[in-house]
C-alpha cells in the first residue's frame, strides 16, 4: 500500500507541475488570500494584545486587591496595611507589584478646578503600569517620599498651569474630613492615551500617607496591583490570593473591565470567522478550477479506471493533487503573511483616530502580532478548506466511467 501511495504521490506531483501555468495562478490566489488574511488577523491579534496590555497596565494589573467596599465608596477609611495585611507567596508567577493610595480628589489652579484621581506611588514599582510609558517634561517623582505632583499634559492645559507652579489638592483624609494642601508641579507627563493625562495626578506614596494617614495602620494603601508573568497564570493566581487574603477583595482585570474582557474573547472567534469567510470565498474559485481540471482529464482518469485502478485509489490521487496545490499555496501564503507583518514593522499610527481608538481600549499605535499558534491555526484551517474543496472534484472523478477512455 505504501508503494501505491508513493506512486500516487509522484503522479500527483507531476500532474501539478504538468499544469504549471494554471496551478501558478491557483497558488497565487491561495497565497494572496492566506497572506492577506494572516496580515489582517495579525492586526486583529495586535489589537487584542494591545487592549489586554492597556487593560492590565492601566493601574489595575492582572489582579488588584482592595479592602471590601472600596470600589463603591473609595476613601482612606477603607485602606489596608501593606506591611501586615499582604503576604505574597514566593511561588506566585509575579512580574511585579505596585502599592498605591488611589483616591478621588479635586485639583485647583488659579484659574480652573477639576476632579481627578490622586495616586500615591512608589515610582520604582510602577514599571508594571502605564506610568512607564509616560514622556515626562520637567522632573519625574524622585521616590515615595517626593511630595511634589506629576500631572498630565491635558490637565495642565485645562488648569492653565505649568511645571514649577503650585496647585491645591483637596482629598478626604482617614477621619472623613477634607485635607487641603498646596503642591508644586514637578513634571508634566504625555501619555499614549488621553485619559490618564486628564484624570490622573501622581505623588509619592509615603508623602501622601504622611499627609492623610491617621488610620493607625502601618504603611496604609488602598490598592495593591499585581502583574503576572503571563495572563494564563491569572485564574490560579487570583484563586490563591483570595485564599490567602480573605479579608480583602481580589479581582482580576476581566472582572474590573468586563467590556474589554468580552471584546478580547470575541476577537478570538472573529479571527477564525474572518479566516473562514475569506477561505470560503476562495474555495468557490478553487472548487471550480479543480473540477475543470478533472473534466479536462476525463479520458486519462477513465483510462486509469479501465486499467484497473479502483475508486479509492482514484479518490486518493485527486485529493492528493488538490491538497498538494493547497499545501504549496498555503505555505507560500503564510510566508507572504509573515513578510507583510515584518514589512509593517512597528505598526500603524492611529493617532489621527485617537479618540475612536481609545473607545475600543486601544493605544494610538497598532502593532501586528503574529504567533506560532495563529500560524498553525491558519495553516490547519487552510488544509481543512483544501480537503473540503477537493471533495467536489474527487466526487466528479469517481463518476468517470472507464468507458470514457474507450469512447474518446
Amino acid at each position: 500500500m505504501l508503494g501505491t501511495l508513493t506512486l500516487l504521490f509522484n503522479l500527483s506531483l507531476r500532474n501539478i507541475v504538468r499544469y504549471r501555468r494554471r496551478n501558478f495562478f491557483l497558488f497565487a490566489a491561495i497565497a494572496v488570500a492566506v497572506g492577506g488574511t494572516t496580515l489582517s488577523n495579525s492586526l486583529i491579534r495586535g489589537w487584542q494584545v494591545d487592549m489586554l496590555e492597556t487593560a492590565v497596565s492601566g493601574l489595575s494589573g492582572h489582579i488588584k486587591m482592595q479592602a471590601p467596599g472600596f470600589a463603591d465608596d473609595p476613601s482612606l477609611q477603607r485602606a489596608f496595611s501593606a506591611s501586615t495585611n499582604v503576604v505574597l507567596d514566593d511561588q506566585l508567577p509575579v512580574a511585579g507589584i505596585a502599592k498605591r493610595i488611589n483616591l478621588p480628589a479635586v485639583i485647583s489652579s488659579e484659574r480652573e478646578t477639576r476632579g481627578v484621581a490622586m495616586i500615591g506611588i512608589d515610582p520604582a514599582d510602577e514599571a508594571i503600569s502605564l506610568y512607564r510609558d509616560f514622556e515626562v517634561s520637567g522632573e519625574t517623582l524622585a521616590g515615595p517620599d517626593d511630595g511634589r505632583l506629576l500631572i498630565g499634559k491635558a490637565l495642565a492645559e485645562t488648569l492653565q498651569t505649568k511645571i514649577g507652579r503650585r496647585v491645591v489638592m483637596i482629598v478626604e483624609g482617614a477621619d472623613g474630613k477634607s485635607r487641603e494642601r498646596g503642591y508644586r508641579i514637578a513634571g508634566v507627563f504625555d501619555s499614549p492615551t488621553n485619559w490618564p493625562e486628564e484624570a490622573l495626578v501622581f505623588t509619592g506614596l509615603q508623602a501622601l500617607q504622611d499627609t492623610l494617614a491617621t488610620v493607625g495602620l502601618d504603611n496604609p494603601i488602598t490598592e495593591l496591583s499585581v502583574v503576572l508573568v503571563s495572563d494564563e497564570d491569572r485564574p490560579s493566581a487570583a484563586e490563591k490570593l483570595r485564599d490567602q487574603h480573605p479579608q480583602l477583595v481580589v479581582k482580576d482585570w476581566r472582572q474590573m473591565q468586563p467590556q474589554i474582557a468580552e471584546i478580547v474573547d470575541v476577537v478570538d472567534a472573529t479571527m477564525v470567522i474572518w479566516f473562514i469567510l475569506i477561505m470560503s470565498a476562495l474555495t468557490f474559485g478553487l472548487v471550480n478550477t479543480l473540477i475543470a481540471t478533472v473534466m479536462q482529464r476525463t479520458q486519462e482518469l477513465g483510462m486509469l479506471r479501465a486499467l484497473g485502478m479502483n475508486k479509492q485509489l482514484l479518490l486518493i490521487q485527486v485529493v492528493m493533487e488538490c491538497v498538494g496545490i493547497m499545501v504549496v499555496g498555503v505555505i507560500a501564503g503564510l510566508m507572504l503573511g509573515v513578510l507583510l507583518v515584518f514589512g509593517l514593522g512597528e505598526g500603524i499610527d492611529l493617532s489621527a483616530f485617537s479618540e475612536s481608538a481609545e473607545a475600543f481600549g486601544m493605544s494610538t499605535f497598532l502593532k501586528p502580532v503574529l504567533t506560532v499558534e495563529d500560524l498553525l491555526l491558519f495553516g490547519g484551517l487552510s488544509m481543512l478548506v483544501g480537503l473540503f474543496a477537493s471533495f467536489f472534484p474527487a466526487r466528479r472523478a469517481l463518476k468517470i466511467s472507464p468507458l470514457m477512455a474507450m469512447n474518446r
Binding site: L7, M303, G308, M309, L313, P402, M406
Partner: protein
C-alpha cells in the same frame, strides 16, 4: 503462455448477451443476444460497421461496460455478479487493454507507464523494473524507456501501450481499433507485433476493427451486424 497453439479452454464465453441503452426513454439495442466463445491462443477480430456492436461487445468482455441479459465469462470469472470494484480488480489481473488513442499517462516515462500497472498489482520494485524492461525490450523500445509519451511517435506510443498491456501477463488482450491513428507502415509493424505475441507467446487477443488489413493478420474474423454475430470464420470452417 508459451504454448503457441490454440487450446479448447474458453478464455471468453458470451451467451445471449444483450446490452440496451436508453436514449430519451427509447431503448436502443447495442447487443441483441450475442454468442461468442474464444479459446486460449486465438487472435480474433471483431469487425463490422459503426453501430454494429463490436466495440460494445469488446467493452462488455473487458468489464468496462455492463450487460442487461445473458452471461459473460472471462478467464473463468463470470462478470455478471461482479460489482464495479471487483470488475476493476478483474481487469487489473486478467485483461490487458490497448486503446485507439494509446492512453498513456503523459507525466510518466515509457518505463513508468509500463511499471504503473504492476505497481497497482503490488509487484515489488525490483521485479517491476525487470518485467517492464523486458516488455519494452521485446517490443523494440529498450532505448526509449526514459522518454515521456510526448517524446515518442504514434507507433512507439502504441508499442508502449502494448508493453503495458502484456507486462502483467493477462489471459486476454483487448485492442480497440489499435491502428486507427497510425499510418500503413506503422500499422503493419504493429500488427506484426500483435501476431508475434499471439503466435510465439500464445497470447489471446481480441481486437475491434473495421480495417481489412487488421483482419488479415487475425486467425479468426467475427463480423457483427445490428448487435449480433453475423459471420464467424471459425463457424464457417
Amino acid at each position: 503462455m508459451s504454448d503457441n497453439t490454440a487450446s479448447d479452454t474458453p478464455v471468453v464465453y458470451c451467451q445471449d448477451v444483450q446490452r440496451i441503452y436508453q436514449q430519451e426513454s427509447v431503448p436502443v439495442y447495442a447487443l441483441r443476444g450475442a454468442n461468442l466463445t474464444i479459446t486460449a491462443g486465438e487472435f480474433v477480430s471483431l469487425a463490422g460497421p459503426s453501430g454494429s456492436g463490436k466495440s460494445t461487445l469488446l467493452n462488455v468482455i473487458g468489464g468496462l461496460d455492463g450487460f442487461d441479459a445473458g452471461e459473460v465469462t472471462v478467464g473463468g470469472t463470470s462478470l455478471g455478479a461482479l460489482n464495479a470494484s471487483e470488475l476493476a480488480q478483474m481487469r487489473l489481473e486478467k485483461v490487458g487493454f490497448v486503446f485507439q488513442a494509446y492512453n498513456l499517462i503523459p507525466v510518466l516515462s515509457a518505463r513508468e507507464n509500463v511499471e504503473f500497472i504492476l505497481q497497482l498489482q503490488g509487484v515489488s520494485s525490483q521485479e517491476r523494473q525487470e518485467r517492464a524492461n523486458s516488455a519494452l525490450q521485446s517490443l523494440g523500445l529498450g532505448d526509449l524507456g526514459d522518454r515521456r509519451p510526448g517524446e515518442l511517435s504514434g507507433g512507439q506510443q502504441q508499442r508502449v501501450a502494448i508493453a503495458r498491456a502484456i507486462v502483467t501477463e493477462p489471459v486476454l488482450l483487448l485492442a480497440d481499433e489499435p491502428t486507427a491513428n497510425l499510418d500503413s507502415k506503422t500499422t503493419s509493424e504493429l500488427l506484426e507485433v500483435l501476431q508475434q505475441l499471439n503466435q510465439q507467446q500464445g497470447m489471446t487477443i481480441v481486437t475491434a476493427t473495421h480495417d481489412p488489413i487488421v483482419m488479415s493478420y487475425t486467425s479468426r474474423q467475427v463480423a457483427m451486424m445490428d448487435g449480433e454475430i453475423h459471420q464467424d470464420s471459425a463457424m464457417a470452417s
